[in-house]
C-alpha cells in the first residue's frame, strides 16, 4: 500500500525532474558551443579591432559617426563596447595586466596613463611605429608620454626617455561657462565672479556658482582651476604637495566665499547635479569640462539655449584650467595592434579632426580644427578650448595619482561639509584640512618609495 502511494508520486515528480535535468543538459550544449565560438572569434585578428570605453556624451560622435566611417574607408571592422566609468577602469586594467586580449584599444581618462604605461597595461606607440600628427596641440599630446616630458618625475624613471604610450583623441579641458544675461562683459577674474554673484545671486536662485562637491575626483576638479590660478601646484617638482601653501589655502577660501551663493546640497553634487542647476537657468557661471558645451544649446536639456558663452577659467594670478583629455592606448595583449595603430593615426589626422570638430563642436585636438573659421563660427566654444589647452596645467604624472586625488578629494570634501555647516572660520578649516591632506600624501609617497 505504501509502495503504491510512493510510486504514484514517483512517476509524476521523477518525470518532471528527469525532464528538467534533460532539458538542462540539452540546453547546456549550445551554451558550451557558444563559449567555444566566442573565444575563437575573438582571436580572428586581421580585419577587426575592438575598442572599449566608458560612457560619455563626448564619445557619442565617435561612436555613431567616426567608427563607422573608418570601417567604410578602410574595410576594417570595429567593435565598440562601452560601460560605466568605474567598471571600465577595472575591466581595462584587468584585461591589460593579465593580457587577456579582449580589446585592441582602451579609451582612457588621462590620469590612467602613468599607471597603465608603468604597469604595461598598454604598449608603447613609438615602438609600434606610430606617426604623430604635428598639428596636435602640445599640451594635449604630452599627456600621453611616459615618463612625462614635464613636471615631477619618479626616481625609477628619472633618466628614461619619454615614450608615447597613448594618443589624445579629445581635448577635454576646463573652461568657464557663464550666462550672458548676468555678465555684460566676459568675466576674467575670480573677483569678477564674486562681484556678479554678490550683486545678482539670491537665496533660492539664481545661484552665483555651482560646483562638484563629492569626495575624491569630483571635488578635486572643482578645486584645481582655483588652485592653479592662485599659483599653487598639486605637487611641486620635488613631489612635495603644493596646495597647503598660502596659494592653496587662498584658493579654497575663495571657493568657500561662494558658499552663500551656491546650492546648499553642493557637497553631494557630481557633474550631473552641478550642471542641472546651470541648465535650468538658475546659476550665473561655473567651470566644467568641455562636455557641457554640447548641452547648453540642446533644447531638450537646457533652458538657457543661446545664452551661454565660454571663456578661460577665471584667473587670480593667471588662468590655470586642469586638462583632462580622452586618450587612447593600445592594449598590451591586443590581438590586432597594427589595426589599432591605423585607427588612431586616422582619427588624429587633421582632416578627420576637422570633421570631428564640425560634428557637434566636439573638442578636437588639432590646432587647425579648433581655429577653422567656418567651424568656430558655428561652435563658439572651440577657441576657448584651444586657449584653455594652451594654458592648461596637468595633474601629477604618476601611477599613484588616483590615490593622491582620493586623499585630497576626501579632505576637500570634509572641509566643504564643515564650511557649509559652520559658514565661518573658512581660513582655519581650509588650512587644517589642506595640511592634513598634504601630510597624508607625503606619507603615502614615502611609503610607496621612488619619490622623495
Amino acid at each position: 500500500m505504501t509502495d503504491s502511494i510512493f510510486s504514484r508520486r514517483y512517476s509524476r515528480r521523477s518525470m518532471l525532474r528527469a525532464g528538467l535535468f534533460g532539458a538542462a543538459g540539452l540546453a547546456a550544449v549550445p551554451a558550451v558551443l557558444e563559449a567555444c565560438a566566442s573565444s575563437s572569434t575573438s582571436n580572428s585578428g586581421g580585419g577587426k579591432i575592438v575598442i572599449g570605453t566608458f560612457q560619455d556624451n563626448a564619445m557619442v560622435p565617435f561612436r555613431d559617426v567616426f567608427v563607422k566611417r573608418f570601417t567604410s574607408e578602410t574595410g576594417i571592422q570595429v567593435q565598440y563596447n562601452e560601460t560605466n566609468y568605474d567598471a571600465w577602469y577595472q575591466n581595462s586594467k584587468n584585461d591589460g595586466l593579465h593580457k587577456t586580449g579582449a580589446y585592441d584599444i582602451y579609451v582612457m581618462d588621462d590620469n590612467w596613463v602613468p599607471e597603465f604605461a608603468a604597469g604595461k597595461v598598454i604598449q608603447s606607440l613609438d615602438k609600434l611605429g606610430f606617426h604623430v600628427n604635428s598639428d596636435i596641440l602640445p599640451n594635449g599630446l604630452n599627456q600621453g608620454y611616459w615618463p612625462p616630458k614635464t613636471g615631477a618625475k619618479m626616481k625609477d624613471f628619472a633618466s628614461a626617455t619619454p615614450e608615447l604610450y597613448a594618443i589624445v583623441i579629445i581635448d577635454d579641458v576646463e573652461i568657464l561657462y557663464y550666462n550672458k544675461d548676468y555678465f555684460p562683459n566676459a568675466p576674467k577674474t575670480w573677483d569678477d565672479i564674486a562681484s556678479a554673484a554678490a550683486a545678482k545671486a539670491k537665496a533660492g536662485g539664481p545661484y552665483g556658482w555651482s560646483a562638484r562637491g563629492v569626495k575624491g575626483n569630483p571635488i578635486v576638479q572643482t578645486y584645481l582651476p582655483l588652485l592653479n590660478s592662485y599659483g599653487g601646484n598639486f605637487v611641486n617638482d620635488d613631489w612635495s604637495p603644493g596646495f597647503a601653501s598660502a596659494a592653496g589655502v587662498g584658493a579654497l577660501e575663495r571657493l568657500f566665499s561662494f558658499i552663500p551663493y551656491m546650492p546648499t546640497g553642493v557637497a553631494e553634487f557630481d557633474t550631473d547635479q552641478e550642471v542641472q542647476v546651470f541648465l535650468q537657468g538658475n546659476c550665473l557661471a561655473l567651470t566644467e569640462y568641455t562636455g557641457l558645451s554640447h548641452q547648453v544649446d540642446d533644447a531638450t536639456a537646457s533652458k538657457v539655449v543661446g545664452k551661454i558663452n565660454m571663456a578661460a577659467t577665471p584667473s587670480q594670478e593667471k588662468s590655470g584650467p586642469a586638462i583632462g583629455t580622452f586618450i587612447c592606448g593600445v592594449a598590451s595583449g591586443a590581438p590586432n595592434p597594427q589595426g589599432a595603430k591605423q585607427f588612431l593615426e586616422w582619427f588624429t589626422s587633421s582632416k578627420v579632426q576637422t570633421d570631428f570638430a564640425n560634428t557637434n563642436g566636439s573638442a578636437a585636438v588639432t590646432k587647425s580644427a579648433l581655429s577653422d573659421p567656418n567651424i568656430t563660427s558655428k561652435y563658439r566654444w572651440l577657441p576657448a578650448i584651444a586657449d584653455a589647452v594652451n594654458n592648461s596645467v596637468a595633474k601629477p604624472h604618476t601611477p599613484d595619482e588616483p590615490k593622491m586625488e582620493d586623499i585630497l578629494g576626501t579632505r576637500l570634501n570634509e572641509a566643504l561639509v564643515q564650511a557649509l555647516q559652520q559658514k565661518s572660520g573658512y581660513h582655519s578649516i581650509a588650512q587644517s584640512k589642506l595640511t592634513q591632506a598634504a601630510n597624508e600624501i607625503t606619507a603615502y609617497l614615502k611609503q610607496q618609495g621612488g619619490y622623495i
Partner: protein
C-alpha cells in the same frame, strides 16, 4: 495562547511596516515614469505626464534585453547544477555513521565560505577564467556561481533531509531499492519543500550578485542585470529616469518570483533551516 499581541496596535504596526517596506518601490516606479525634466522640476508623488520612454531607452540604448537574458540563463543553470551537486552530498552527510561530527564540520565550513568577501574571490577567479578563455561568458559565470552556491545547498538541504524519518527509507530498502533509488523515489519527494526553499534562496543570491559579475564580464554578451543597473550610474551623467527604470526592471523578475513562491519561504524555514 500564542506568543503574540492582539488588537488595533497590531494592525497599526503591520500597516506601518508595510508602508515602510513598500514606499521605496513606489517612489522608484513613479520616478521611472517621469521625464528627466519632470524629475528635476519638483516633488511629485504621482507623475503628471507619465511616460514609458525610460523603459524603451533601457532596451534600445542600454542593452537591458541581453542583460535580462544573461541573468535568467545564468541563474537557471547555476541553481540546477548546484542542486545537482549539493543535494546528494547533503544526503550523504545525513547517512554517515559519524554524522554528528561531520555535519557540524560541514556547517562550519559552509559558514566560513560564506564569510569570504567577494573582493578576495574576484581576482583569483578572474585569473582562472582567463586561463580557460571563459572571461565574459555565461558559462564562466555559471561555473563560479555553481561552486559558490553548492555549499549553501548542502547546508540547507542537510537539515531538511535529516528531518525525514529513516523508517520510510529503511522500508524501501527492505523492499528492494538501492540507496540511490530510495533517494530518488522516496526521499526527494518528501524533501520537495526543502528543495523549493533552497532553490528560492539560491535564485535570489545568484541573481543579485554584483561584484563577481562586474569583474568577470565586460560586454552585454555576458553582463547581468545588476551590472547593467550599475552602468547607468555614470561618472559624468546620472540619467535618473532610466536609472529608476533600470531599478524597476532589475527588481521585477525577483519580486514576481518571490511573490509566486513566498509560501515556500516560510514553510522551508519552518521545516528545517531553523536548526
Amino acid at each position: 495562547m500564542r506568543a503574540g499581541l492582539r488588537g488595533v496596535p497590531v494592525y497599526a504596526g503591520l500597516v506601518a511596516a508595510e508602508v515602510f517596506a513598500l514606499f521605496p518601490f513606489w517612489w522608484m516606479i513613479t520616478t521611472s515614469l517621469k521625464h528627466q525634466v519632470e524629475i528635476f522640476s519638483g516633488l511629485e508623488l504621482l507623475p503628471t505626464a507619465p511616460t514609458l520612454d525610460n523603459f524603451f531607452a533601457l532596451f534600445e540604448t542600454y542593452n537591458f534585453g541581453p542583460f535580462l537574458f544573461n541573468s535568467v540563463t545564468v541563474v537557471v543553470f547555476s541553481v540546477l547544477l548546484s542542486l545537482l551537486l549539493g543535494t546528494p552530498a547533503a544526503y550523504a552527510l545525513t547517512k554517515l555513521p559519524t554524522e554528528g561530527w561531520l555535519q557540524k564540520q560541514a556547517l562550519i565550513v559552509v559558514l566560513l565560505v560564506r564569510m569570504l568577501p567577494a573582493i578576495l574571490l574576484v581576482i583569483p577567479f578572474y585569473i582562472v577564467l582567463a586561463n580557460f578563455q571563459l572571461l565574459n561568458t555565461r558559462i564562466g559565470l555559471i561555473l563560479l556561481y555553481t561552486g559558490l552556491n553548492t555549499g549553501f545547498v548542502i547546508w540547507l538541504m542537510q537539515s531538511f533531509l535529516a528531518e525525514i524519518p529513516r523508517d520510510i527509507e529503511e522500508a524501501a530498502l527492505v523492499d528492494g531499492d538501492t540507496r540511490l533509488t530510495a533517494l530518488w523515489r522516496i526521499v526527494l519527494p518528501l524533501a520537495a519543500p526543502g528543495l523549493a526553499a533552497t532553490s528560492i534562496f539560491s535564485v535570489i543570491n545568484i541573481y543579485n550578485d554584483f561584484l563577481i559579475a562586474l569583474t568577470m564580464t565586460s560586454t552585454p554578451e555576458a553582463q547581468t542585470i545588476p551590472v547593467g543597473v550599475s552602468t547607468l550610474i555614470g561618472k559624468i551623467q546620472i540619467q535618473w529616469g532610466p536609472m529608476a527604470a533600470a531599478g524597476v526592471v532589475g527588481a521585477l523578475p525577483i519580486v514576481v518570483f518571490a511573490l509566486l513562491v513566498q509560501r515556500h519561504f516560510v514553510r522551508g524555514l519552518t521545516l528545517g533551516a531553523v536548526k
